[in-house]
Amino acid sequence: MVKTTIQKRERLILGNRACAEGAIAAGCRFFAGYPITPSTEIAEVLAWELPKVGGKFIQMEDEIASLAAVIGASVAGVKSMTATSGPGFSLMQEHIGYAFMAEVPCVIVNVQRGGPSTGLPTKIAQADTMQARWGTHGDYHAIALAPSSVAECFHFTIRAFNLSEKYRTPVIVLTDEVVGHMREKVTFPESSEIKIINRMKPTVHPGWYQHFEVNPHFVSPMASFGEGYRYNITGLTHNPDGFPTARPVAIKEKLDKLKNKITHNVNDIVEIREEFMEDAHIAVFAYGIVARAARQAVHMAREKRIKAGLIQPLTVWPFPDVYMEHMLEQLDLVIVAELNQGQLIREVMRVNTGKTRVRGLNRYDSELITPDQIFQKIREEK
């Protein structure tokens, strides 16, 4: 295998390319995907780059097959990912559920575009926010990271792999058409500066191995196919040994484990960026590309002596309930700015329970929310 060394260098690159390079830096050595605007560049870059580092790329017949192949490769011990957009993300929901149920690490990049349906292939939206959380059937607990710059596309893709390996769960990178197709300067770290987490391997004798062992960390060590641990994996609700079960006690134990490994680790998973929140009375709550407009808007407000601040969730899921409860108590107003008809605002209002005023600023006409729009909203509502 050829060793990858991502040299410390500054380059002007595309957001989607940064995702692809982040994946290689994280140790991804398998990609399966299907062409779809505006995510295709990720596949194209990896078709070119993966074989150079001993990795494999395959174009599948659709997005359903793509995520299936990714899961298969991950079970065989190779860090794997796919990338898609709206309609493809809808098709992948079946196997997002499978990867979650069978506890298979993998990364799914969703470069969001306008919807519903075929919608606006070349235009931006953030309307898959709730789909990333609730898209697959059954009780599901998502991890979704939201980069707002090209550099973050690189770093968040690495982090997505790390979280996925650490918690044995699918992780979604929720980027968008503008971030994906934007070119910015990225200063790449030395490979020695990049933190890499690999899945925990079993140390027990194969005879004692349980692929879905229940333990206090809620994450079981994971053997790969061909390593001498012959186990079964299934999308059926299963016992710790991987075989299907219909026992109510075992069913609850499994579903609790899946839930707890996310909810008990919110502090490790969730990252939030704040600006001017020390003394803010008004907060703009926005993720991804919208947070950049929001940052400028709060700067404009500060110039007018309005005590506004920015809360930018870098992880959209799990939602930072405890953090937000605390913040909402101190605020007079929260403006949730998003490129949809109002999705993340539902989460803010759920946590709010009457503590403060919550207002939405929504745009879904394929254009970005401007800093001036957010600033005007702050002035109107303050």
């Binding site: 070119w48 017949e61 793509s66 299936a68 899961i71 065989a76 390593e227 001498g228």
Partner: protein
Amino acid sequence: MALLSKVTHQYLRTKKQFPNVWCAGCGIGTIMGAIIRAIDGLKLPQDDVVMVSGIGCSSRMPVYVDFNTLHATHGRPLAFATGVKLAQPNLKVIIITGDGDALAIGGNHFIHACRRNIDLTTILINNSTYGMTGGQVAPTTPFMKIGTTAPYGNRERSFDIAKLAIAAGAPFVARGTVYHMVQLRKLVEEAIQKKGFSLVEVISHCHTLYGRLNKEGGAIEMLKWQKEHAIPISAAGKVPPEKLRGKFLTGVLWDIDFPEYCEEYDKVMAEAQGKM
């Protein structure tokens, strides 16, 4: 017989998973036995065998056998298997699928797996119906036969699986039956040894649903039907055409060579790394 079952037992998860879900008289157990004996005959280490299946009666098989087993989603085992094989080409990957699994919901994955030619061995168990969900019409249900979702008779044409696979590019296509279990073992052995995508269609029976709905009798009558209607391809030339009508051919129906995908991808990697 005692010797046969001794061979089989060392490959079964007898302590945990039995009894199985299949009806008494079902053909799937016989097919599982033939596959196990083929693997045993080829002396493949259990650690190196991966069995991937979809959803349905036949797709329950991996749960019972002591290999690396992946019970996937409905219709998609070939897509999962594609990832497994590319990630670890040293593993022997065998796919167990049914006619509904492979040809209805998984039809797209099926033709592309045939075309792509990755070294996978697919055992497609064809019982002409959806057994697990209760006897609904399948893409393999013959014209005018009854299914619970075709109570007035199936008005659609059925797939000819072997022709479909050959047309889609599969380099190795064979057909066997539950009745001819010695031949079936040999076909599975050949399929596993084939470098490239191989398909073995196994004609099976669902007496519980299909047989009852279509008044074709119990398991024994349906096995007799297989015996009477199977013509070995080696004998097909000697049989007058009128006697072939309504019958089906068994044996290796198609065997050609075409570059295998994993080996081709090794060349891609060598080229990308500047070794060529």
